[in-house]
Symmetry: C2
Subunit: 201 residues, 2 copies
Amino acid sequence: MTMSTSSGGRSGRRRGTTQTREAIVVAAQTQFAEVGYDRATFRSIATAAGVDPALVVHFFGSKEQLFHEVMKLPAGLAGAIVDLAQGPRAEIGRRLAEVIVAGFENPASQRIIVGRIRSASQHPEAAELVRQAVAGDLARLTAALDVDQPDVRAVLAGVQVVGIALARYVVRVEPLASMPAERVIELLAPVFQRLLVEPLT
Amino acid sequence: MTMSTSSGGRSGRRRGTTQTREAIVVAAQTQFAEVGYDRATFRSIATAAGVDPALVVHFFGSKEQLFHEVMKLPAGLAGAIVDLAQGPRAEIGRRLAEVIVAGFENPASQRIIVGRIRSASQHPEAAELVRQAVAGDLARLTAALDVDQPDVRAVLAGVQVVGIALARYVVRVEPLASMPAERVIELLAPVFQRLLVEPLT
DNA sequence: GTCTATAAGCAGATAGAC
DNA sequence: GTCTATCTGCTTATAGAC
């Protein structure tokens, strides 16, 4: 076995710094999600990652670039949404609710989703990312469904997503904030079902 | 006629400074709505009001107090929501949509609603105000309706309100951002109707 | 790769002149 | 009531030592 002492991952970037860099990535995502773009400072991110503030600058150059690098969603999520058009239409509301809530509840994607939404009111790129998710990924789903007013349906579904995220994770309104994920899916499913494939009026 | 040279309003505060103070109030509301709590600085507010920055401090003491004073909703709006319980239940969804959208479209209350929601991700008091509107005003409406799960219904209706506000006025997702108010009412009415009085599952 | 020192700018808030 | 001057602290970002 020629495997070296460091951890896995053959492809991509060089060895050595990758561990520290990953700690910074997670710390930055967490800070953006918890306090938003403006209040997530190099210092607070570095402290959370247990590194020196200058190191964050050294790796990412500027705060804008740091946000850009760190707020990319795993490619699977957008794809999972569009793929819903393939399955049975009678349950598409529930299946969309499951995909969305799964994204919310997974810690890695939750940091990114909440970070985007919490920063959307402060940083133009964050607003653009939210806009793309709503008018992009969801619109591709409704377009594939061959229903009337696909853009209106997509934006109304998007309203649910950003509304739930804001109320549950940012503002923390009860009883939504403490609700089990399964209950959120149950409540969202019929709303999505109507907005996606049933008559709108 | 003994009416003096100054403008109307017999009751309340003394004359003289009230004009400048009102200009600061509107400028502060506008800034909070457009750029949020952190980026709405004494300097930017003063510039927008055409006054000296120190004057803003002189009138309101601190930034927190300024936000507190200026983000109070006209008492009528919360009352109008609760009063909806009195009218015909078959149209309660549309009537709630009309009240909400009227609040959004009136410039004075729009500055406050959007200011609260845009600042909710940055300032704890702003988040608290949003929480009160959702779990307070809307919950009093659902409690008066004598339906099952009033708190869940209230928070789901609140999700619509904050979701629409965020998507239409903060993130500006199309086609929602450019949609006429009447169309927004049409789209919201059936959603509210179901969330308020129809079976949830 | 990691850290110290520091530059340059803007924030909220205070003191006091007029 | 209005404005000038200023204090203190924090921000992003750079230069350069080790």
